[in-house]
Symmetry: C2
Subunit: 417 residues, 2 copies
C-alpha cells in the first residue's frame, strides 16, 4: 500500500533556507562584462527590484517568506512525499524510493514556488510588467499564473521548438493572461539576428527578455532558475522534504533532482547540505540530458548567462553561451550553463552529476506512468531514470527524488518515443 507523508499547513516552513550562509568556500562574484570587475549591484537594479537583489547577495541563513506569498503557497502546498511502492515492486528492489510531488501545483511544476515571491516583490516595487523567457513553458506558465494572482502583467519569450512542440503549455499561459511570443522573435534586435525557423535556445530567449525590459515602461526581468534568489525560493521543496523525512523517520541515502538551470535540484538538496557538512553520508545527484551536458561536459569558468551577453558573467559550468542544444523533449533542461551555487558545490566535490540519454529517460517516464499512475514531465523523467538505476545498483538504500512536474502537456514526447 502506498505511503503518503503529508504536512499540515501549519507544519509548512515559513522561511527559505539560504545555503550561502553555509558554503565552506565563498562564491566567485558575478562580473561586469564591460570591466571584468565584480558588478555593482546598482547596475542590476535596471532589471531586478531591490529586495530580490538583496536576496541574491544575502548571507542570512533564513529569509522569511512574506505572509502574502505563504497565503498563495497554501493553495497547493505543502506538497506530498510519496513512497513509490508500485515502482519498487516493479523493479523488485529492496531499496525504498520516495518522490516529492511538485506536479500538483496550479501550473503543474515546482516553478510556481519562485514565480509567486518574484511577482510579489516586483509588485511591491511598483513594477507593472514582468518579462521572462521559458523553455518547455513550465516557467512561463508559472509566472503568468503568479502575475495574474498578484496583479502584474507577464510577457514571455518561449523557445521556438517548445512553442511548437507544446501548444498546450502556451494555452496555459493564455489562460492566465500571459502574453507569449516564440523566440527568436522579430520583437528584439537580438532576436532579429536569427532566422524565423531557428529552434531557439534559453540563452537567446533570455537575451530577448532582458532587451525587452529596457524598452518596456515600468518593466523588470524575472528568471526561472540559475540565480541565487531563485534557488533560495525553491528551498521550500527541500525544507518541506526534510520535515517530512523527520516526521516519517526516513533517512535518505541519496537525493536526486533533474538539472537544467539548477532550481529544482538546488531547491531540493540545499536544506540537506548542512547534514552533509556535519559528516552525514548522503549523496546528491544532479541529472541532466546527454545532449545538453553542462555539468558533466561543461567547463567551470566565467560565462554569460545569455547568448547576446547582456547578463553579468557568472562562474559556472558552461557549454559556452553560443551552445545550441538539440531539440530534445525536456525543453526545461536545454540551458548552456548552470546555477553558480550548484556549480560550486559540484566543483568542490559535494554533489555528483550524471547525464542520461533521452531514450532511457522517456522509457523511465513511461514505466513511472504505468506503475505510479502519474505521467511525469520529461524533465522529471531524468530524475526517475537515475532513481531507477540507483535502485538497481544498490541494496537497501533510501532514495528520494523530486518529481518536478507532471507531463500532461508533454505527451508528444512519450508518443514519438
Amino acid at each position: 500500500m502506498r505511503e503518503t507523508i503529508t504536512l499540515k499547513p501549519d507544519e509548512m516552513p515559513d522561511a527559505y533556507y539560504n545555503v550561502l550562509a553555509d558554503l565552506p568556500n565563498p562564491l566567485d562574484p558575478p562580473l561586469d562584462p564591460a570591466t571584468m570587475k565584480p558588478i555593482a549591484p546598482e547596475k542590476l537594479l535596471a532589471i531586478f527590484p531591490e529586495t530580490l537583489l538583496e536576496q541574491e547577495m544575502s548571507h542570512e541563513r533564513y529569509v522569511p517568506i512574506p505572509e502574502a506569498v505563504l497565503r498563495e503557497y497554501f493553495v497547493y502546498r505543502p506538497s506530498p512525499l510519496i513512497r513509490a511502492v508500485f515502482l519498487e515492486e516493479y523493479l523488485k528492489t529492496n531499496c525504498k524510493i520516495y518522490y516529492k510531488h511538485e506536479g500538483l501545483s496550479p501550473t503543474g511544476s515546482h516553478k510556481v514556488n519562485t514565480a509567486l515571491p518574484q511577482a510579489y516583490y516586483n509588485k511591491l516595487a511598483g513594477v507593472k510588467t514582468l518579462v521572462t523567457e521559458t523553455g518547455a513553458g513550465q516557467w512561463g506558465s508559472a509566472l503568468s499564473y503568479a502575475g495574474k494572482k498578484l496583479g502584474i502583467a507577464v510577457k514571455v519569450f518561449m523557445v521556438r521548438v517548445s512553442y511548437e512542440q507544446k501548444p498546450f503549455r502556451k494555452k496555459l499561459m493564455h489562460l492566465f493572461s500571459g502574453d507569449v511570443s516564440a523566440s527568436p522573435s522579430s520583437l528584439t534586435e537580438c532576436g532579429k539576428r536569427y532566422s524565423t525557423d531557428n529552434p531557439g535556445s534559453l540563452g537567446i530567449a533570455i537575451s530577448e527578455a532582458i532587451e525587452s525590459v529596457t524598452t518596456t515602461k515600468h518593466a523588470k526581468y524575472a528568471l526561472g532558475s540559475v540565480l541565487n534568489h531563485v534557488l533560495l525560493h525553491q528551498t521550500i521543496i527541500g525544507l518541506e522534504l526534510k520535515a517530512q523525512c523527520k516526521k516519517a523517520d526516513i533517512v535518505p541515502d541519496t537525493i536526486i533532482g533533474c538539472h537544467g538551470g539548477g532550481s529544482n535540484f538546488g531547491g531540493t538538496i540545499f536544506p540537506f547540505f548542512p547534514d552533509k557538512l556535519e559528516g552525514r553520508n548522503i549523496k546528491f545527484i544532479a541529472v541532466e540530458p546527454e545532449s545538453c551536458p553542462s555539468l558533466t561536459k561543461g567547463e567551470y569558468r566565467y560565462d554569460s548567462g545569455d547568448t547576446a551577453g547582456y547578463t553579468p558573467l557568472m562562474k559556472m559550468y558552461t557549454l559556452g553561451k553560443d551552445f545550441m542544444p538539440p531539440a530534445i523533449h525536456a525543453g526545461g533542461l536545454r540551458y548552456h550553463g548552470a546555477s553558480p551555487i550548484v556549480s560550486k558545490l559540484l566543483h568542490d566535490g559535494y554533489i555528483e552529476a550524471v547525464a542520461y540519454n533521452q531514450n532511457d529517460v522517456l522509457t523511465a517516464g513511461k514505466t513511472f506512468a504505468l506503475t505510479e499512475g502519474v505521467v511525469p514531465a520529461p524533465e522529471s523523467s531524468h530524475a526517475i531514470a537515475c532513481a531507477i538505476s540507483e535502485a538497481k545498483k544498490n541494496n537497501g538504500k533510501t532514495i528520494i527524488f523530486t518529481l518536478s512536474g507532471h507531463g500532461h502537456f508533454d505527451l508528444n514526447a512519450y508518443i514519438d518515443h
Copy 2:
C-alpha cells in the same frame, strides 16, 4: 488555510454500495427491442461477461471489490476531500464548500474507478479485446490505462468533435496502447451511414463499438456510464466521501455532481441515499449542459441507449436516440439519455436536476482555476457553477461537489471562451 480530509489506505471501502437494494420502487426492466419484453440476460452475454451482468441485475446491498482491483485503486485512491477555502473567500460566502477531487487519477478523471473492475472481470472471463466509445476521451483513456495494467487490448471509438478538439486525450490513449478511431468511422456499417465530417455523438459511437464487438474475436463491450454496474463501481467516490465526512464531522446539506450518463453523479450521491430515505434533509443536484438537457428537458420513457438501436431499451430521461447535441466543450456530457437509476430517482422526486449554459460553466471553471489552483475539466465546471450559485443563494450551508476530472487536456475550451 486549506483543509484536506484524507483517508488512510486501510480506511478505503472494500465493497461497492448497490443502491438497487434500497430503491423504494423497483426499476423498470430493460426491454428487448425485438419483442418489447424484458430482455433475457443470456442475450447480453454476447457483449458483457457474466459477472458484470450479475452486478447489473444484483440487489445485494454490498458487492465486494476484488483484491486485484483494490490493489490498482491504491495507486491513486483514496482521493482527497478538499475544503475550497479560497473559492469561499472569493465568493464572500458563509457557506462551506468542499470538493471531492477525482482529477488525480492516472488519466485525470473518475472514469478509472470503473475501467479497472471492468477490465478485471473481462480478463477473468478470457476476453482479449474490450471495445468502447468515448466522448471527451476521459473514458477511452481510463479504459486504455486499465487494459494496459490488466493485460487486455482496448479499442476506442472517439466522438469526432472531441477527437479533433482534444488531441492530447487521444495521445493519452496512445500512451496506454489504446487503439483510437474517430466516430463516425468507416469501420462499421453504422458509421458508414454518416459523412466523414459529421461531428458524431455518443449514441453513434456506442453503436459503432457494439457492432465492432460482434466482428472482433474474443471481444466484449465496455460502457463508461449509464448502466447499473458502472454506477455501482463509481460508488467508491461516495463511500469514501461519506467516510471523510464522518471523519471530519462534515454534515452535507447539498451534494452536487455534473451529469452526462450519470456515473459521476450517481457514484457520488448513492451512498447518501439511505440517509435521505431515513429523513435526513439533504439535497442532491445533477448538473447538465443547457445544450444537452436530458434530465431537465427530456421525456421519461423507454429509449435505446445508442443511435443504431443495438442496445436494449431502457426506461430513462431521454432527448431521443437521434438527438445530435451541439459541439460543446464538455464532450463527456453530450449523451441523449441518462442512467435508468438516476432517471428513476429524479422521476420519484429524490434528486433535482438543473441545466447551465456553457458560458457560465466556463467562467466558473476559470474562477476555480484562479482561486483553488486546479484547472477543472469542462464537465466538472458544471458542478462548480452550480456550487457557486448554491453558495450565493444560501446561508451557512455545507455544499459538496465532485470534481470529476482536471482540464489539462481541455484548455481550448477556456481559451476559446
